[in-house]
C-alpha cells in the first residue's frame, strides 16, 4: 500500500489516468451529496505474492493455505461506496457514525475493544487468513485479533445457538463451491468498518470458489437481516493465495505490535 501511495504522488498523470478510467463516484456516501458523510477511501491494491512464489494449487476442494484479501472497503454494501440497503432508521445511525468519525470522535466499535469483528466484517481484513481443512471441518484462522471461525461440514446448525461475535457456521460443498451459512450472531458488532448495523437475526451466506487456477479465492457474500436491512444483498471479493506469508502473533490487548507492510506482516 505504501508503494502505491508513493507512486501515486510521484506520477500525478497516472492518478489522473486512473481517475478517468476508474470509479467515477467520489468517496462520499452514495447519493448523499453531504461533505460530512465523506467515506474513508477503500484500499485498492493487489496483494499478489512476490515473483518466484509457487503457483496456486488448482484442486478446487483444497482451500488450505494463507489467503489475503485484495483491497479493503470501509463500507460493505453491494458495491464500493454504497451502503448496505439499510432501513431508514439504520441508515441515519450509519450517517451519525460516519459524521462522528469525520469529526475525529468515532463511536467505539467491537474491534477497538479487542472483541471479535463480527460478520461479514471479519472477512474484510487487511491481514492474512489461514484456512485449515480437517475431516468434517474447515477452520479459518485470522491473523487479525486471532479471530477464529470453525465451520462444521454437512450438518445443520444446533437447535439452540448461543449468540456469539462470529456466530455458528456450517458448510457444505456445492460442486466446486464451498457454501458457509452463519447464524447466531450477537448485535455488538457492525456489518462494516463505517458502522452499518445488524441485529441478532442477521444471516450470512458465503460462497467460496477457487479461480485463476487456484491462485485466487472468490467470495460471494450475502447478508440478510430482516431487522436492519430492506432486503438481502451480496457483494464479491477476491483473496490471493500467499504461500510466502506466515501469519504472525497478533495481540490486540497490548495494542498489536505487528502490522502488514507491503504484503508482509512485520514487527513495528
Amino acid at each position: 500500500m505504501r508503494t502505491l501511495i508513493t507512486a501515486s504522488f510521484a506520477i500525478p498523470a497516472l492518478v489522473l489516468a486512473f481517475s478517468a478510467i476508474g470509479d467515477p463516484r467520489p468517496p462520499t456516501l452514495y447519493n448523499s451529496g453531504d461533505p460530512t458523510l465523506t467515506l474513508t477511501p477503500g484500499l485498492r491494491g493487489a496483494t499478489a505474492a512476490p515473483k518466484g512464489t509457487p503457483a496456486g494449487n488448482p484442486d478446487p476442494h483444497d482451500l488450505e493455505g494463507v489467503w489475503w484479501l485484495t483491497g479493503y472497503e470501509y463500507l460493505l454494501g453491494p458495491e464500493p461506496g454504497v451502503p448496505p440497503p439499510l432501513k431508514p432508521q439504520y441508515l441515519r445511525i450509519l450517517e451519525r457514525r460516519i459524521r462522528a468519525k469525520n469529526r475525529g470522535t468515532p463511536e467505539a466499535d467491537a474491534s477497538t475493544q479487542c472483541l471479535p469483528h463480527g460478520m461479514p466484517r471479519v472477512m474484510e481484513s487487511p491481514y492474512p487468513i489461514e484456512i485449515v481443512q480437517t475431516p468434517g471441518r474447515i477452520t479459518f484462522l485470522h491473523e487479525v485479533a486471532h479471530n477464529i471461525r470453525r465451520i462444521y461440514l454437512d450438518q445443520p446448525h444446533p437447535r439452540h445457538v448461543a449468540l456469539s461475535f462470529l456466530g455458528n457456521s456450517v458448510g457444505h460443498w456445492e460442486g466446486d463451491t464451498l457454501v458457509v451459512d452463519t447464524v447466531g450472531l450477537n448485535d455488538r458488532t457492525f456489518i462494516d468498518d463505517e458502522g452499518s448495523s445488524h441485529s441478532t437475526q442477521e444471516h450470512v451466506i458465503e460462497r467460496y470458489r477457487k479461480i485463476d487456477n487456484g491462485a485466487s479465492l472468490e467470495l460471494i457474500m450475502t447478508v440478510e437481516d430482516p431487522v436492519t436491512l430492506e432486503h438481502p444483498y451480496s457483494y464479491r471479493r477476491v483473496f490471493r493465495w500467499r504461500p510466502d506469508v506466515r501469519p504472525q502473533e497478533y495481540v490486540c490487548e497490548e495494542n498489536n505490535r505487528n502490522a502488514p507492510v507491503n504484503g508482509v506482516t512485520v514487527a513495528k
Binding site: 475493544q113 479487542c114 471479535p116 480437517t134 477452520t139 448461543a162 461475535f165 490487548e253 497490548e254
Partner: protein
C-alpha cells in the same frame, strides 16, 4: 496450467503423498483435548520443584506472596494477554489440535489463541520474542516433538507464577495412548538464566468427543471470571 504440467503436478502430488505415508505412520492427534486433573505449581518428573536460580526464586516468591493476598497483577492473563508456554498447555480450558502434513495447529479455547508448529524445519536461531514463541516440530517414530524458542519473558511458565527468561527453550513430546483417548505430554525446559539445570515434567489430556469449542473472548469476560489456571 497446461495438460502436461497438470499431469506432472498430479503425479508429483501422488508420489509426495506416498512418500509421506511411508515415512511416518504418524498417529493423528486431531481433536479436542482437555488436561486431566488440576495443575497448580508444576512438579518435575523427579517429584520436586523446578530448580530455580536465586534471582528467579526471589521473583517466584514475590508472585506467590502477592497471589496469597489475591493480587494477580503480576499475571498478564488478568489483562487478557496470552498465557505463554508451557502454561497454556497446563490450563483447564480445552484445546484443539489440527494436524496437517506441514503444520500442526494448537488452537486453545483460552481467548481463541492459535499456535503453529512448522514440521520438519529447523528452529530459527534469532527469533523475535513472542508470547507463544516460535515452534517447529518433527515426528520421532510415533511421538510428535515440538521445539520452541523466542519467548517474551513477561509470561509465566505455570499457573502458580513460575518465571522464565527470553532464553527459554521448550521441548514438548506428545504421545497418543494405544486407544487414542489420552495424550501424554512430557516437556523439558532449558533456561540457564532461570533454572540451575534443565528439568522435565508431564501432563496428560483426555480426548473430548462431540465437543465444539465455544467462542471465549477474554475482553468480553469480567476480570474475576477470566481463566487463569
Amino acid at each position: 496450467m497446461s495438460v502436461a504440467s497438470r499431469y506432472r503436478h498430479a503425479v508429483l502430488s501422488a508420489v509426495a503423498l506416498t512418500l509421506a505415508a511411508a515415512a511416518h505412520a504418524a498417529p493423528d492427534l486431531t481433536g479436542v483435548w482437555q488436561i486431566t486433573g488440576h495443575m497448580g505449581a508444576v512438579k518435575t518428573t523427579d517429584g520436586g520443584a523446578p530448580p530455580l536460580t536465586a534471582d528467579a526464586k526471589a521473583v517466584y516468591d514475590a508472585h506467590r506472596k502477592a497471589a496469597a493476598k489475591g493480587d494477580y497483577s503480576f499475571d498478564g492473563v488478568t489483562r487478557c494477554l496470552p498465557p505463554g508456554l508451557p502454561r497454556l498447555m497446563l490450563m483447564h480450558e480445552p484445546f484443539e489440535i489440527l494436524q496437517r502434513d506441514k503444520i500442526v495447529y494448537f488452537v486453545y479455547q483460552v481467548n481463541r489463541l492459535p499456535r503453529r508448529a512448522y514440521l520438519n524445519e529447523a528452529l530459527p536461531t534469532d527469533v523475535d520474542p513472542h508470547y507463544l514463541g516460535y515452534s517447529v516440530a518433527h515426528w520421532d517414530a510415533d511421538t510428535l516433538v515440538v521445539e520452541s524458542a523466542g519467548f517474551d519473558d513477561s509470561t509465566l511458565l505455570d499457573n502458580a507464577g513460575l518465571p522464565h527468561s527470553e532464553d527459554m527453550h521448550l521441548t514438548e513430546r506428545y504421545q497418543l495412548s494405544p486407544d487414542g483417548k489420552r495424550l501424554r505430554l512430557t516437556y523439558t525446559v532449558e533456561d540457564p538464566k532461570t533454572f540451575t539445570k534443565p528439568w522435565s515434567a508431564q501432563a496428560e489430556y483426555t480426548h473430548l468427543t462431540g465437543y465444539q469449542i465455544p467462542e471465549e473472548v477474554c475482553a468480553a469476560t469480567p476480570v474475576a471470571k477470566r481463566p487463569r489456571d
